[in-house]
Amino acid sequence: MNRVPAAVLSILLIGATLSPLVRNPNDDSYPLSTYPMFSWRRPTQLSMSYPIGDTPTGRRYLTPRIIGSGEVLQARAIVERAVSRGGTELRTLCERIAATVATVPRFSDVTQIRIMSGTHESIDFLVRDKLGPETERFHCPVKR
């Protein structure tokens, strides 16, 4: 490769990588990303749905994999979709989680699964262990 094609390739690749500069920064893509992560203004309050395991001594949070995906965001999407559709889908999710929990030794003290929707002040929750208001959407027993 002599200098001309090498220069053309260099300009094309660098130009393509920098091309997101002319796009709306919120218009993300792959692999030519605007890299907008960590840039958006976020409230400190978070409303979301999640399953919890009830034990004789209190609640336990489960794991994304038990919910249905190793990825946190995909696990969240699974719960949110079931909650928004309700009915059979929510029951199926709860029972599937309960069936999985029944097979995991470190969750042997969990007797019931509850699908909750809650709104928490993130810093209060993490720093001061203060929970926000929660609503129970569905519950099902863990059968062993």
């Binding site: 690749l13 500069l21 976020r42 794991t63 810093i123 720093v127």
Partner: protein, 294 residues
């Protein structure tokens, strides 16, 4: 113009570019090999969840079997890429394959930002004379005349710099200079960790102690912006580029400790090797082996 061209095409050892081909190619190969199942699982998700980005906007969803074939072809091409075998043909196939399969993984409603730089590096190396030494090709044919090796190494470095600069510019475009006060990042870290706790994932080790001290985030944000917007310094080369690389590696470590988000490619340090004389390690190892054999 001539000065820019002379700088861009300044000579560099063939071994340096070859070492980058081997190390970055090997990283991509192991990455894809270890995530083969995960890439296939994603291809089996319901089509209703498909949201094309980049290349997959045109291709649309494909049968899982097609993705499996593409993964196998890409892995074989990456083996040839690392070995420097039939490089002229195998390397572009590896680059295109890696681009497509990672794009496909990013086409299900969530664009990750962990594979972009790796793909850009592989694409740049695929079209560079990176198999003139330390390769199977080099045993059977003499290198064709070309523009040298320095430009290709600079191109890989420039792509690294561009991605970090874009991340810095995005913060200013979306949030403005107010991003530096740290409140936005603190909220982001708090929300991200809360989401993890509620779904039972591990909370970042340093999240809670630092959330209690908001002033820390101002310093962290100022440093982040300085490193991202100052990424162009890598093109100067030498110790400024190496200090930048070490500082950015430290920044990624900070992201792990505060958010438990792992950007594996930069954390492995492979992404920053282009600013180091990486071939010297291999040459010294060869020299040491030669001396031991007498």
């Amino acid at each position: 113009m001539k000065r820019i061209a002379d700088w861009w095409f300044a000579p560099a050892p063939a071994e340096r570019l070859a070492a980058l081909r081997v190390v970055i190619g090997l990283y991509a190969l192991v990455y894809l090999w270890r995530r083969f199942g995960e890439f296939l699982n994603v291809a089996n998700l319901p089509v209703s969840q498909f949201q094309g980005v980049g290349l997959t906007k045109w291709s649309g969803p494909l049968p899982a079997s097609a993705i499996a074939v593409m993964l196998v072809v890409t892995i074989i091409a990456l083996i040839a890429f690392v070995a420097g075998a039939l490089y002229r043909y195998a390397a572009p196939i590896a680059a295109l394959g890696l681009l497509f399969v990672t794009t496909y993984r990013n086409s299900w409603g969530m664009v990750f930002h962990t594979e972009n730089l790796l793909v850009l590096h592989i694409v740049a190396l695929a079209f560079a004379p990176a198999a003139d030494v330390w390769s199977i090709d080099a045993r059977y044919r003499a290198p064709r005349p070309h523009a040298g090796y320095g430009w290709a190494i600079k191109l890989v470095v420039a792509l690294t710099a561009a991605t970090y600069m874009l991340a810095g510019i995005a913060k200013l475009r979306i949030a403005g200079f107010g991003w530096v006060d740290g409140a936005l990042l603190r909220n982001q870290i708090a929300i991200d960790n809360l989401r993890k706790v509620l779904l039972g994932d591990s909370k970042a080790v340093l999240a809670t102690p630092f959330l209690e001290h908001p002033s820390f985030f101002t310093a962290f944000c100022a440093l982040t912006l300085m490193l991202e917007l100052g990424a162009g310094i890598t093109l100067v080369g030498g110790w400024p580029a190496r200090i930048w690389a070490l500082a950015v590696w430290g920044f990624h470590l900070g992201v792990v400790l505060l958010m438990n988000i792992w950007f594996i490619y930069p954390l492995s340090f492979v992404a920053f090797l282009p600013v180091f004389p990486v071939e010297k390690v291999i040459l010294r190892a060869q020299e040491w082996r030669r001396r031991r054999r007498g």
